[in-house]
Symmetry: C2
Subunit: 225 residues, 2 copies
């Protein structure tokens, strides 16, 4: 019984994922999702948080359960049922995680819309081969992310606390794999009530600076409906 965590971020208009190099057999040397066995007395959510902390050095990031994989032969060592999680983190927090044993790789999504399927991964110009069924799990993570993006406030998890609407739009475009209409995007996002304008503006840009917004947490949103 194990937990595997898909850690996604968006940078340079591309979806990226954190991968760990396997140091043990089987599949030694291949790249894999951060993961670990569920300990006694530990809930699945707690296990995912621990894996994020111990293997990725991340605490307090957004994570949700994705799917449970239980085909008998998916792991050659024996029967391993894996509960996968999807974690989202802003690119800055992941930037210093690339070393010999970990890499932040760029995803290629060879399908459109909600079709689903495995993805490909590239880092430093080379295509990575993933261990086990991890390419399939990553594909499911992208599918889930695409599906939730338009009706759930999760794009913000991929950005720092303050951000411009343009940055948020670029996140959406990277995830959806297509361009979105600027005017309609602004109107729609502002109408959700998820955003609060700060009085501040971005700096160090060679043109009119955009206003910075913050995500309004659920408990700050007034009840309606």
């Amino acid at each position: 019984m194990s937990v595997d965590v898909v850690v996604l971020t968006v940078a340079d208009g591309k979806i990226q994922a954190l991968l760990i190099r396997r140091t043990e057999l089987p599949q030694r040397g291949r790249w894999a999702l951060p993961g670990g066995l569920v300990l006694k007395g530990e809930s699945l959510d707690q296990c995912a948080a621990r894996v994020l902390r111990e293997e990725a050095g991340l605490a307090g990031v957004y994570a949700e359960q994705l799917y449970t994989f239980g085909v008998p032969k998916r792991d050659p060592r024996g029967r391993v049922i894996s509960v996968s999680y999807l974690a989202l983190v802003d690119a800055v927090r992941l930037a210093d995680h690339a070393d010999g044993e970990a890499v932040v790789a760029t995803l290629g999504v060879p399908w459109g819309g909600q079709t689903g399927g495995p993805v490909t991964l590239q880092a430093a110009g080379r295509t990575l081969t993933l261990a086990f069924d991890h390419a399939e799990i990553l594909g499911l993570a992208v599918k889930r992310l695409r599906g939730k993006l338009d009706y759930a406030p999760i794009g913000f998890e991929l950005l720092p606390r303050s951000f411009t609407l343009r940055q948020l739009q670029e996140i959406h475009e990277a995830i959806l794999g297509r361009s979105v209409n600027k005017d309609s995007f602004r109107r729609r996002l502002l109408a959700t009530g998820w955003l609060r304008a700060t009085a501040e503006r971005e700096s160090a840009v060679a043109y009119r600076p955009a206003e910075l917004y913050r995500f309004v947490h659920r408990n700050e949103i007034r009840r309606e409906e």
Copy 2:
């Protein structure tokens, strides 16, 4: 490691669920979801299909994975991680399943929209007390069903092979817990391409009989986009 299956149907404008009376400790006498331990060499999907067959007498019905529950103390016998499944079946196939050990109970959904939360269950005018966290799992099943209904072809799983648009609308209304606009519902469903008109009409009604439709399976739909 176990699998619990939520078997839902819709009859008389209400969502109904199949429950089994527990004959063993703990919680003997309480009502529970059909479930069982995952066997060696058996995938999770296969286990769900076996539980449906052995405990519910159902084969070839629609089922999808729902969520995995892994809080350490959810089962007093020890550590039991449960993968839940959602199965949909038409009311006729479930009608003869009420005996001493099984009951088809009517759900009460005390929340609107996608809010989520536990549900209540009634059978023969009495409120049933469910074992473990099964009321919570049933609530999640309703939430998932509501969420998927409008963009996925799953309403048909709750009806016989041929059905009228009015019947399908009543299914949607029961699941969503609100009335839906007749004209818009017809237009929208016919526009999806999920339905094929048969030349037949319903019979034994005291008014103009409606045309019968059938669900067009995915592989019969021509590719587009």
